[in-house]
């Protein structure tokens, strides 16, 4: 590999003796000693401005008697993957949370699922396992049976308390007032302003990563499509991309265009719904009614194109399962043009409303610094000045032939997140027009006879409508999955809400939460 980014060179100059491997394009892997890892991580994050994109463990038994922990950093459109081994009975590794804040939830997750202990972590309370799980339950260990029944024990989760005169705690959830998913929010307030918010999630933990280990590479797709229903296609596509690089499958060009088309359709219906929902949370129901009408139009369009309102079953390993004929494509563009005009009219109505703008501006500000510290991705990141979009930075599907204009705002308030969504609606519609003009004829599916060896792995990144979705798939024996790590964009973004709400009033929380609109299901797995 000749192409080397200067950050990678800087890393190798600062730490001579690192042995680099290049498993795939723009990905460099270093296997390092676990005692050296903290300084490397500190250098990458602090000096090279690398974002911690993923941190996860894998149990290598029965092939090797060890655990591996992988640290994936994103630096300047390149991936840097650091791998350490945790061997034998020593289940300790050094926490990097004290200087890479984004590692906080990842390390707690590793502790819960594998029983490896991050030494020096400032907060070692349980995350995924709720207090009633018996001690010593670490489901992602290979000696834990996937269908084991978990007992119940007594336990108490200790929330962080603020004490003082006039300080109250407001518990919300896990079951909320609207039709939304379960999660618990604990506010500490003095008067109206929020002093602290603590999020307690993982109510919906369904053991998806363990379920993947019961699947073969080719049979895991329906499960991936059901990780987060609203991102059916995003998750499905990320899974397919990872598996295809393991099977050495070259997806036909037509199929890649169709994948981009489906992905933009998904982005469109979700963004339309979000714009409406944000307006609804300021009690501006008119915009909500119009937006949900348009969203429904797109979902009916999805249904006509693929037989599923959520585009389920549209993808297949090696290509797509559903073709879109020329007639359907021109119908599609007609519908989209109507929606774009419709939506543009609505936009001018929305922004002519001063009381609405007043609610949105300076509400729930997520500063660029906080966003950076949490490694925030996607719409939320782009509203806080983090100019990143996988479609442009690491093109997948047909995006290497489609020029994506990345929308970026700096203020990080609810209005900025609304604006990002609005602009992306127009951009999606434009992209779909471009796809219609450029789509080539050809086959829809590729096949291959390649069988990956055990312990081979692949990484894939897809820009779903919420943001960067990451999949790490490692092959086990006889075509089974050994480890599948799924990272929904919600996972790094949830903790950031805790900072965005500080100083706001509780009645604004639903609005701020809606402007993030994160998945509980994708986060809890």
């Amino acid at each position: 590999m000749t192409e080397r980014s200067s950050p990678v060179q800087q890393l190798e100059t600062a730490f001579p003796g690192l042995i680099a491997k290049y498993p795939s394009h723009r990905l460099v892997q270093y296997r390092v000693d676990k005692n050296r890892l903290p300084e490397l991580a500190r250098f990458l994050h602090g000096k090279l401005q690398a974002r911690l994109a993923l941190l996860f463990a894998a149990d290598c038994r029965p092939l090797e008697e060890k655990y591996e922990i992988q640290y994936l950093f994103s630096v300047d459109r390149h991936w840097v993957l650091l791998t350490i081994d945790v061997v034998g009975h020593d289940r300790l590794f050094t926490s990097i949370t004290p200087f890479v804040h984004a590692a906080q939830w990842y390390e707690r997750e590793i502790r819960d699922l594998f029983g490896l202990i991050p030494q020096g972590h400032p907060d070692l309370r349980r995350l995924v396992r709720h207090e009633h799980w018996p001690k010593g339950t670490h489901p992602l260990r290979k000696d834990f049976l996937w269908d084991k029944t978990i007992g119940r024990q007594q336990g108490e989760y200790r929330f962080r308390h603020i004490e003082g005169e006039g300080v109250f705690e407001v518990p919300v959830g896990p079951i909320h007032a609207g039709i939304i998913e379960p999660g618990h929010f604990r506010f500490s307030v003095a008067g109206e302003p929020i002093m602290q918010l603590e999020i307690r999630h993982f109510w919906k933990h369904r053991g998806i990563e363990k379920l993947f280990e019961q699947q073969t590479l080719t049979s895991g797709l329906p499960l991936a499509e059901r990780i987060s229903g609203d991102t059916t296609l995003g998750h499905g596509l990320a899974y397919c991309e990872a598996v295809e690089s393991l099977l050495h499958l070259e997806v036909p060009r037509r199929a890649r265009y169709l994948r981009s088309l489906f992905l933009e359709l998904e982005r469109l219906h979700n963004h339309l719904g979000d714009v409406g929902a944000i307006c609804n949370d300021t009690a501006y129901t008119l915009a909500h009614a119009h937006c949900s009408r348009m969203k429904e139009q797109v979902m009916q369009l999805n249904d006509r194109l693929t037989g599923s309102r959520f585009l389920r079953g549209a993808l297949a390993i090696g290509g797509v399962a559903k073709d879109v004929s020329a007639i359907q494509r021109s119908q599609l563009v007609d519908v989209l043009e109507t929606i774009e005009k419709d939506f543009a009219e609505l936009e001018s109505i929305i922004f002519a409303n001063a009381s609405l703008t007043d609610r949105l501006e300076t509400t729930g500000v997520l500063t660029e610094r906080t966003a950076w510290d949490h490694g925030v991705v996607g719409v939320v990141g782009r509203a806080s000045g983090m100019d990143q979009d996988v479609r442009r930075d690491r093109p997948f599907a047909a995006y290497n032939e489609l020029a994506v204009n990345v929308v970026c705002y700096r203020y990080g308030d609810v209005r900025a997140r609304l604006r990002v969504r609005m602009d992306e609606i127009h951009e999606s519609i434009r992209l779909m027009g471009e796809i219609r003009n450029k789509i080539p004829a050809g086959p829809l599916l590729a096949s291959s006879g390649h069988q990956p060896r055990p312990r081979e792995w692949a990484l894939s990144a897809v820009e779903g409508w919420r943001g960067e979705i990451l999949y790490f798939v490692m092959v086990g024996e006889d075509g089974h999955i050994h480890r599948c790590k799924v990272r929904d964009p919600s996972f790094p973004n949830w903790p950031a809400i805790q900072w965005a709400v500080i100083g706001n009033i509780i009645p604004d929380f639903p609005l701020i939460n809606k402007s993030f609109n994160l998945s509980y299901a994708g986060n809890d797995l």
Partner: protein, 168 residues
């Protein structure tokens, strides 16, 4: 103001502009008819998610949009189980949500109806057997109506709700 009026006039009436429901395979228990007697005119629904992928939630939300507009049939979605006549439960019941589901069921005043929405609520779907899933909804609370689908289309849910109110 003029712009808003113009927009509303241009959009016109969209209610009912959706493809008809396919023959739904929803099933009712024999007691459902009896239980529905007090709710012929209106039905207050509380939705509980016990571990779904959130597609069922999106379809429940779609029921309230101007196209399906479930309120025209006297069905409304309420904020608390204490105000509800019927619980709509989605998703397999996860280990972490088991207690919350039972609490919600206890807090819903009798007589009440439980509707299991989607394949996961009925038989755990793709999540069946997982260590973190304790079983389908009817393992924990009695279920009266089952609406299969992954997820069921809003028109199908609407159709079942109408049949329930007619209690045919």
């Amino acid at each position: 103001m003029f712009r808003i009026l113009k927009k509303s006039l241009k959009a016109g009436v969209v209610t009912g502009q959706h493809p008809g429901a396919a023959q739904s395979s929803a099933s009712f228990t024999p007691q459902t008819h009896q239980k529905m007697l007090p709710f012929k005119r209106s039905l207050a629904i509380r939705e509980v998610d016990t571990g779904s992928c959130n597609a069922c939630e999106m379809e429940m939300n779609a029921l309230t949009n101007p196209i399906y507009d479930v309120e025209r049939f006297g069905v409304h979605i309420v904020a608390s189980p204490r105000h509800a006549d019927a619980l709509v439960v989605t998703g397999p019941v996860t280990v972490n949500m088991e207690r919350a589901l039972k609490d919600v069921h206890k807090q819903t005043p009798d007589p009440k109806l439980v509707i299991a929405l989607g394949d996961c609520a009925i038989n755990c779907g793709v999540f069946r057997g997982s260590y973190a899933v304790t079983g389908p909804v009817d393992r924990h609370i009695p279920v009266d109506v089952r609406i299969p689908g992954c997820p069921p289309r809003p028109s199908e849910i609407l159709d079942v709700l109408q049949r329930l109110k007619g209690a045919r």
